[in-house]
Symmetry: C2
């Protein structure tokens, strides 16, 4: 810690010590509260204890740094003065809220304590002061419950267990014969407080602290400790937030939305977070505390007409028109100041408006796009800022299919369209099941009465989320939108019965494992699976993409094996094919027989005969792809996978043979026997070949250029097909630009061997047709050895393309097919920060890629270099590829827009950074990157 | 080519233009002929055309450089003068030999033409001059045959085909009713010459050149071309000789050992090439040409008493005592001059001794050792030279078992003890079969009437070689000794019948596939397999080893998993264990059950229970190993292989279950049914686990430290066993020095995770026993990512040990288990120069190793670094490890002496070289190294 550090930052309207740039130190909430004060917005005064104190506290066995107590006391005095109340004063008590606030918002992940500063005596005083003893005792009841849960640890760990306080309330309600909490009397509330305190004493052996200052320090400690609670850790992992950042604590004077019908509380977005429409959007509850809205316990009302779902909704606009006008004014001030859509919390205490929070609002992909483009067009932000405003990963969501509107569907219920998208899946009723089923490859829809932060893992695993309760800003809705996951929330039509693992929608019963479909844009819950159709791409999308294209340096290509994919990718803006896997063509029904014939051949002549059958088909394939990519480069990889992949499964063969042998006994006549014997012989030959081709580690076996070296006739056939197709295209006026790529090269002699074949065939075919085709020959760099010898290999290569999938497998010694056995545990324990098959392992694989780029360009200054692994469409990886000077990235068609945007963002982020130093010798060796 | 190059180097006694240092330019033979001339030894005058001419010729479409003709003519004139004969002169003709000679001896690999310069007319003249027309015509006949074979290409490519000339001879012999070539008359020989020429014309369309000068240039061309013939290429590959070196051509005046009974020819070694005894050793034939001795067609006689095998052998010593004395003198001169054992060829033409060749003699390992040590002790060479004289790889041969002398054996035949050693194998009758059978894992003995250069591949593949004809210097004997392969030659007791694939030894018939055993030290051929016993290590061995230890810098450790291996290695000079694989202990009969129980456990408690059973066994294992290695470091690797390796085979399980289900139907009573059902259930559970643990690429799967991270209790158990054992040893007065090695680490968090466990357990155990054990914790660097991040990983590691086996697999993307499918083809086509699993791939894997050493030592200057892959016992790899500064190499016990010697040689070779530069950025990317 620095010398003479400052631990505490005071804030109140027009006199804050912090500002919005101090998020690292004050957390997002604290910095924004200070900033709101700076721009004159009415915020209850308060103080922020910095994240540095959190880190000190957690590293020093939960001890606070010296001097903190004094700073807190001084700031508290300022709050008391401004609010004209006194903390712990039974006559005119100041109550406090204590909330966490980290650098990035982690909604609901950490602990909060409200109404702090009450004890029996003070509550009596508050009752008198407010002239509302019931409010005072209800606040006290809530405070004891919250404090007991959060600070004293009574909240159940497993969230299916019952909260001991809720149990006490339920018991009392039964005794009193009432249904709602609000039906309990002041005396009942007093009884509850007593019972709560007794429960705390029984369970923890500790007494509830009656001294307000003890309460305050207990709460501050609890918030700091909550940084490391299980759900917070899990959330950080899913969101790539560093464990090192810590949380700040915000202590703020309490204001009350539950002081009567002249009080209210609400949350709002300055624009529609679902569509992005420039329309003030929010929900409120009269006579309630803020947590009631977010928790989704009472269904809130819309703040204005535009948000009305039902005729009998009462809008805030109509109920408190003056305050609504004031709120609209603040909305404008905030958007103007923050230059982005804000997510705000407000409370009206006896007709006075207080702003409790503002932060950049989470939004759907469509909303992000629309807001960014509209703000740029209105001049609020620059186009470059607009580019930075949209998360590339979100884009894919817009491009994905929706339900076919012509499909006949059975809508069984309707809820709130909480997060757009369309998905079908099998119903599960808790987060654990969702994770388990999904890990087995099942598509699941998670159905809950309401979700809570403990459900994060299950929500992530599910294809969609359906809740019976909660509004558009409920936990389920906010988190689902952030994840780009379809969600229908607050669906009152359904009743969930956890014990029976089913839900009822009117008279339909849906059981665990049944298929349902959710339309997150309409709120419809549909029985069964629904077919989908392609999305239409909106004007905002193409606008943003064109801006992105203007600033990006990387070229974006696509991985496509079919004309359809190629066409799709071209529509999405791909400037060529970076990887066309010829083997995918081999699998098609009419050619697998010929391929097998080739594999079964004992000699060159047999193989040649089979290849002659395959040749015309491959020519057709390439013509179609060249047509789709007319004028653009098409990188074609020669045959890569081990040959046994083309043969039938060994087990199935064994079973077939056994069945036929049994059939032999039951054969009706000699002819049938002959027939069967012949079939058995064929199958047995196939089996023998399958066994001969068996490999212990096919990933490291006879594949890639090794095939073309053992069977040069294979490369000959493929080269012939490529050049015959290119010549045929030329005659049709179509420009084919083949780039032939030799896979799995580890030394230059391998590349030279294959290159010589391709060059010879190219010349033969072009001479035959008297046509000149522009082409190049390069190699995949997908083995560490190739990267290490890039300088030598570049001598023979016109281009490099990094196969980062295989390079990841070999560099880390990690089979992608098998990694699910331990990778989840590695991620859980943060041994790997992210999955290296999703985000490029920059400190490992990245070192090789960077090295190979530098070495390759030592041989050929202008060597064209790209990447065609899955990482080509992953934003943090795209940024890395931009940084190290690649020419292009290639990714799946739907990722092309993602890559375009990511490339633009990379260019903008790294505008000023000059040449990077060689990262090979770096001392950081973590797998994965934080946000 | 240089300006004004010199192409031709003349030589004759006391007037040679070359010398022995010019081997690169003149080839070994040419340089030695010149050198012999320089020291006054009688050598027929001649000329050498340099290897530069060969390279020029081969690179320029078989065209000679300008000026060569003139130089050859000038030198020829000098030969004519000195020999007082004229090339092409029918009255007094000079005849020439034309021989190849490359930098390294490639015996019999390239072409030779003798008796060159004859045509009908000159032959008549020679007959008159020699007063021996039969000799003249026999020489002519041989010349035409050789020239037809070699220069005009009539030699059959497939060596089972019949030589057209041999066919003609056979036909004539049948016509004449004679058996031996020598029974043919001069007229017959004339007829043969005519028929030979006709055969040449028929087959090639070309006439035999009658002009001697045409003959000469034809022969020179043929020798150059023969550099690239198939067997020469194959030999070079097997012996790591560069294709770039080329051959020289030696043209030398012919002298004749076949001019009558005052003429003879012989080959000799200045010391016994088999035992190394300081005893002149050789063979000769009266009235014969040199090729007759080498080819093994007539069985030659010993030159002196010491070499006598049979009572009726006639020694050269007794037959030509004066010339023998002269020869002894030359022997002394040569050894004194060359300071090494020489392999010489000589010819006596009418009582005049001519030396035709001297070269460093090939020898067995035992001979190499004895000669080196004796020469050093006599002061002829230094101890350092002695160290350099023994090929490390040969040493292993001395250490290998011999036949158990107490075994009852059935000797069915006895031949010459041509190359020592003892081996058993199944009989095959040709090289192709030997290669094929060996590739399937069969041990084979290659049985031939005699071998020829075409058999090299098969000889290499065989465990031993048996020939019916040929002496101690026959092709089979020389090559086998070079290969360190057991060989019994010239075994007249057997008759080989190729067509029936069998041989007869007296009345025993041995068929293809039958087992026989060869004792290469006694010449015995034994029926069946014979048990073997450990060799005794001679005084020379330990002397040389002690000299080696004085100069080497690398420490040599061993890979040993058992006390027996550890003990053996310690006797061979290992200074510790570099790799103790704990999993090998898991496989032992009494513990595999407990290991399976652990794997089958569904939870921690079950695994813990099973591990508790394994713990005491592992403690015993480690105690025994610590005892064997008392005071020396023992590197123990924690569990490495994927768990499924400990489970039964899937197929077998399936079969067992099926059998039991069938058994169910036939069960005699209910009790049996219950029994079977229980067994089936167990097996099915096992099967389920086997299937759950199935991995597509186990090499890249859940193994190494990944196991210890998923199941920390495994590491706990192993650490406990190690420290309990160490403490138990300490009580017995034995010093255990455990070094715990964590395998398959790719990041420092993995190592830290495992290290924390080991440290905690170590402390617990040591505290419990109140004992202090010195230990360290390090890691294997066996993944490219680990090498790339060595600097970070070194923070947590006390030592590194390179696992070059796995590092080779991942760096090259090459599964060792599967590489046999294409690696042979890669080697054949020289895409890889050597097998990277045998010799370290210095340009690929080596770059990573070098980089990791440098990076690791940036973090810890004195980081202890070793290597424990198979390469630790391979000399060229050991040299590499010396160069890059490793502290030790670890290898299998029998390779320990090899590594000690290789380490000493590396230290001597690189005495002067200072720090090497980083090889990572090298531009050479070949897999493999030449000699």
């Amino acid at each position: 810690m620095k010398e003479n550090p400052k631990f505490v930052y005071f804030f109140a309207a027009n006199e804050a010590e912090g500002k919005s740039e101090m998020k690292d130190l004050l957390g997002g909430k604290g910095a924004n509260l200070a900033e709101m004060c700076n721009i004159g917005i009415p915020v209850p005064p308060g103080l922020t204890i910095s994240t540095e104190v959190c880190n000190y506290f957690l590293k020093n066995d939960n001890v606070f740094p010296e001097g903190l107590t004094e700073e807190v006391a001084a700031a508290l005095e300022r709050i008391e003065k401004l609010m004209d109340k006194k903390f712990g004063d039974p006559i005119n008590p100041l109550l406090l809220s204590v909330r966490s606030g980290s650098r990035y918002s982690m909604p609901g992940m950490m602990d909060t304590v409200l109404n702090l500063g009450l004890n029996d005596q003070i509550t009596e005083g508050l009752g008198k002061l407010s002239n509302n003893p019931r409010f005072a005792w209800d606040s006290y009841r809530r405070f004891v419950q919250m404090y007991g849960d959060v600070v004293m640890g009574l909240r159940p760990v497993d969230h299916d267990d019952i909260d001991p306080f809720e149990e006490i309330i339920e018991r009392l309600k039964v005794q009193r014969g009432v249904e709602m909490d609000t039906d309990l009397t002041t005396e009942d509330l007093k009884l509850l407080v007593k019972d709560f305190k007794r429960a705390i004493k029984t369970r923890t052996g500790l007494s509830f602290p009656e001294n307000p200052m003890d309460q305050l320090w207990g709460a501050i400690e609890a918030v700091f400790r909550s940084w490391n609670n299980e759900r917070a850790v899990k959330y950080r992992r899913l969101n790539f937030i560093s464990d090192q950042w810590g949380t700040a604590v915000n202590v703020q004077g309490m204001v009350y939305g539950n002081m009567g019908n002249d009080s209210a509380t609400g949350v709002a977005f300055t624009r529609d977070p679902s569509t992005g429409e420039n329309q003030f959007y929010g929900e409120y509850l009269v006579n309630a505390q803020g947590e009631d809205v977010v928790a989704g316990i009472r269904t809130p009302q819309p703040i204005n007409k535009a948000g009305r779902k039902n005729k009998d909704d009462v809008t805030f606009e109509s109920l408190m028109p003056d305050i609504y006008t004031q709120l609209l004014q603040i909305r404008e001030t905030l958007e103007e100041h923050y230059r982005d859509m804000q997510d705000i919390e407000f409370t009206i205490e006896r007709n006075k408006l207080w702003m409790l929070q503002t932060r950049t609002g989470k939004r759907t992909a469509a909303a992000a796009l629309r807001i960014a483009v509209e703000m740029a067009e209105s001049g609020a932000i620059s186009r470059e800022e607009a580019i930075m405003r949209v998360q590339p990963n979100q884009l894919e969501q817009i491009l994905h299919p929706n339900f076919d509107p012509k499909a006949e569907i059975t809508v069984i219920a309707k809820g709130l369209p909480a997060s757009p998208g369309a998905s079908s899946g099998r119903v599960v009723f808790n987060a654990k099941d969702a994770e388990e089923w999904a890990s087995k490859g099942e598509k699941v829809i998670l159905v809950r009465v309401e979700t809570s932060p403990e459900d994060i893992g299950g929500m992530n695993a599910a294809k969609g989320i359906l809740t019976a309760r909660g509004g558009m800003t409920s936990h389920a809705a906010v988190v689902a939108r952030g994840m780009g996951k379809c969600c229908v929330a607050g669906c009152n039509d359904i009743s969930v019965i956890y014990s029976a693992k089913q839900f009822r929608a009117h008279d339909v019963i849906v059981k665990e494992g049944d298929w349902i479909s959710l339309n997150g844009s309409t709120g419809e819950v549909i029985l069964g699976q629904v077919p989908t159709v392609e999305p239409e791409i909106t004007g905002n999308f193409s606008k943003l993409m064109s801006w992105a294209d203007m600033v990006k340096r990387l070229e974006i290509r696509t991985n496509a094996d079919t004309p359809k994919d190629a066409q799709q990718a071209r529509e999405f803006g791909a400037k060529g094919i970076g990887l066309c896997r010829t083997e995918h063509m081999f699998f098609e029904h009419n050619r697998i027989e010929a391929v097998r014939e080739m594999i079964m051949s004992e000699d060159y002549i047999g193989r040649q005969a089979a290849l002659t059958k395959i040749l015309p088909m491959q020519i057709e394939d390439f013509i179609a792809i060249f047509e789709a990519m007319d004028g653009l480069p098409v990188t074609i990889r020669t045959l890569d996978p081990p040959l046994h992949e083309f043969l039938p499964n060994r087990e199935e063969l064994l079973k077939d043979i056994l069945d036929m042998k049994i059939g032999l006994k039951e054969a009706p006549n000699l002819q049938r026997i002959d027939e069967l014997l012949k079939q058995i012989k064929t199958k047995e030959a196939l089996l023998e070949k399958v066994e001969a081709l068996f490999e212990a580690n096919p990933m490291l076996g006879t594949r890639g250029c090794r095939l073309g070296i053992i069977y040069p006739e294979l490369t000959v056939m493929q080269a012939k097909a490529i050049f015959e197709a290119a010549c045929a295209c030329k005659r049709k006026g179509i420009t084919a630009r083949p780039e032939i790529m030799i896979p799995l090269v580890s030394t230059s002699p391998e590349l030279e061997h294959q290159k010589a074949i391709v060059q010879r065939v190219a010349k033969e075919v072009m001479d035959k047709h008297v046509v000149e085709i522009e082409y190049s020959i390069g190699t995949m760099i997908e083995l560490p050895r190739a990267a290490l010898n890039a300088r030598a290999i570049a001598e023979s290569a016109d281009f490099f393309s990094f196969g980062t999938n295989d390079l990841t497998q070999t560099t880390l010694g990690l089979s992608r097919d098998d990694s699910d056995k331990f990778l989840p545990m590695y991620l859980e324990q943060q041994i790997f920060v992210s999955n290296p098959f999703e985000k490029l392992d920059q400190n490992g694989v990245g070192k090789l890629v960077d090295f190979a780029v530098r070495e390759g360009r030592k041989t050929k200054k202008d060597l064209k270099i790209g990447i065609c692994g899955e990482h080509g469409g992953e934003p943090s990886s795209v940024e890395f590829f931009h940084m190290i000077g690649l020419d292009y990235v290639s990714c799946s068609p739907f990722r092309v827009p993602v890559a375009r945007l990511a490339a633009a963002q990379a260019a903008l982020k790294n505008k000023k950074s000059s040449d990077t130093s060689l990262i090979m010798e770096g001392t950081k060796d973590i797998v994965g990157t934080h946000a």
